[in-house]
Amino acid sequence: MILILSLAVAVLFGSGAYLMLKRDLIRVVVGMVMISNAANLFIMSAGLTRGRAPIHPYPETATVSDPLVQAMTLTAIVISFGISALVLGLVYLVYISHLSLDLEDISDAEELEEAQLERERSPEPEREMV
């Protein structure tokens, strides 16, 4: 069980990291979602114990599974859900303002803008040369 879980975490994290290195922003977002799911699974596996469901009236002698990790995972899932929505919104804004989701195009636009700013800042570059 432990081996399967750790393999699952590793595969999720690895594929997520691979996707995050892609040039397409949508893939980056998907990679991020996969990595946060790997984290959720990792929290679950941090307190992996066999036992009954931890619902209050249970016999004194029974072993219950750790409820804390489940609560933590639930919180983390909610947070990562909110963040995915937020990041997708951001990606949409990037698309609206650049009409592209390719990171190469976006960094091209950045360079262009920076060159323009540099020109505005120093209108007479020759003066420094003398």
Binding site: M20, L25, V28, M32, I35, S36, A38, A39, F42, I43, A46, G47, L68, V69, M72, T75, A76, I79, G82, I83, L86, V87, L90, V91, L93, V94, S97, H98, I106, A109, E110, E113, L117, E118, R121, S122
Partner: protein
């Protein structure tokens, strides 16, 4: 009492969401709520400093079951500092005219997240508050709505999300090792856990906070974000949000995992040195004031690392003092870099001197504490490094000043007088803390006492 500042900021933030933030009255309402939060936190700080740490368990659960909130000298120091920075940035933006309807509410959300994070005694709760402030930071970075800001926000969000996930994994690993989420219990059980996995989780947590701080190998996101955003947001990011990183390293490193921090001392020293040298050299070669400030932030973080690596009461005290002074400096500089007109030059020069550590400013005592830490560490190399870093920062800050304020440019439209007076007040604070440093020094000593484990 502990819940009060949190509750005010939280309810104010929720209440402000439906209101249109560009209306002047709404902005001032937000300023009033944030001031109330700050006043209550200062009161809390006075109580903590007078009578010792304040603790409460949420929801009347027995201790050990419920989530604990705990205010000690270290936490309240950072809480008060961050709220001052947020208040300055919010007032600045309200005076200049807010551009987005959600801005005031977001700043209050961030105030909630930061206050909660500094006052919690539960690592998972720390993560939750951390995410509250990070999410508002992601949205704040895109404030302004131009292509540049949106690009900055997307870089910031992607890199820092990865950092947050790493932090979450680190917390889960800590929970697995110690079986608890309570900070005090983790610190108590820290010595009994096996060394290899604990070093691994400490390294993961270190990387997570390193990303937030913009420490040298994780700094790549920082310059485009700090230069791309609006001045008020850059001040918030560098003055308030970066505190998460310094506080987190102090709390998790010095308080919860001191053994691992000691083991990693050499690595911290190396990274800190690399940060200082890299930040200073890059800053010298840049032209635009915001760019220089962004690289200078990378450099300043290195000093905190070095003080942490030296450790002990002196080292932690220096780290805290430097973090406080640095975030005030950066707020002042980022806010004044966006302004024009008379007074601004004088204000900028105060900030610049404070970064370089010239005596009448608070920065002098930050540097002095670092020298003391280096002497305590008995390393001539460290002393040389701090001296060299100071000299380099003097060079680049003066360069910026010369370029921005000495050149005869065409008479530009001066910024509103109210904004200039605000940065002037901030500059007064920096000079005042330098002229009368006793309270600040006492505060950092008390906060370091929390970490070094001695009596406060």
């Amino acid at each position: 009492m502990l819940v009060l500042p949190l509750a005010i900021a939280w309810f104010a933030a929720v209440g402000l969401i439906p209101l249109h933030g560009r209306v002047r009255g709404v902005g001032w309402l937000a300023v009033a709520c944030l001031s109330a939060t700050l006043a209550l936190t200062v009161w809390l700080a006075a109580v903590v400093l007078g009578e010792g740490p304040v603790e409460m368990v949420a929801g009347n659960w027995p201790a050990g079951v419920g989530i604990t909130l705990r205010a000690d000298a270290l936490g309240v120091t950072f809480a008060v500092l961050s709220l001052i920075v947020l208040l300055a940035a919010l007032t600045y933006e309200v005076l200049a005219g807010v551009r987005s309807p959600t801005f005031p509410a977001l700043v209050l959300f961030m105030a909630t997240g930061l206050t909660g994070l500094f006052l919690t005694a539960d690592v998972f709760n720390f993560y939750v508050f951390f995410e509250i402030s990070m999410i508002s930071a992601y949205v704040l970075t895109s404030y302004g709505g131009r292509a540049r800001q949106i690009r900055a926000a997307s870089i910031f969000a992607v890199v820092n999300l990865l950092g947050s996930v790493l932090f979450l994994i680190g917390i889960a690993a800590l929970y697995h090792l110690t079986g608890t989420l309570d900070m005090a219990t983790i610190a108590a059980r820290g010595d009994n856990i096996e060394q290899n996995p604990s070093i691994l989780s400490a390294a993961i947590i270190f990387v997570a906070f390193g990303v937030k701080l913009g420490l040298f190998p994780f700094h790549f996101w920082l310059p485009p974000v700090y230069t791309g955003t609006r001045p008020a947001v850059a001040a918030i990011l560098s003055g308030a949000l970066a505190n998460i990183g310094s506080y987190g390293l102090l709390r998790f490193g010095a308080n919860l995992l001191p053994r691992e921090l000691e083991l990693g001392g050499t690595a911290l020293l190396l990274l800190g040195t690399a940060s200082i040298v890299y930040g200073a050299l890059q800053a010298i070669s840049r032209h635009a004031p915001t760019e220089v400030l962004a690289y200078s932030s990378i450099g300043q973080v290195g000093y905190i690392m070095i003080a942490l690596a030296v450790g002990g009461r002196v080292g932690y005290g220096a780290a805290i003092l430097f973090a406080v002074v640095n975030s005030l400096n950066k707020t002042l500089l980022f806010l004044s870099a966006g302004l024009q007109g008379w007074l601004v030059g004088a204000v900028f020069v105060v900030g610049a001197f404070s970064v370089a550590g010239v005596p009448p400013s608070a920065g002098f005592f930050g540097k002095l504490a670092l020298f003391q830490a280096a002497i305590a560490g008995e390393s001539a190399l460290l002393i040389t490094l701090i001296f060299l870093g100071g000299a380099l920062s003097f060079v680049y800050m003066f360069q910026v000043y010369q370029r921005a304020f000495w050149e005869d440019t065409e008479p530009e439209t001066p910024s509103p007088l109210a904004n200039r007076s605000l940065v002037f007040v901030l500059a007064g604070l920096v000079v005042g803390l330098g002229a009368w440093p006793e309270p600040l020094l006492a505060l950092s000593r008390r906060a370091a006492g929390v970490l070094a484990g001695g009596a406060p």
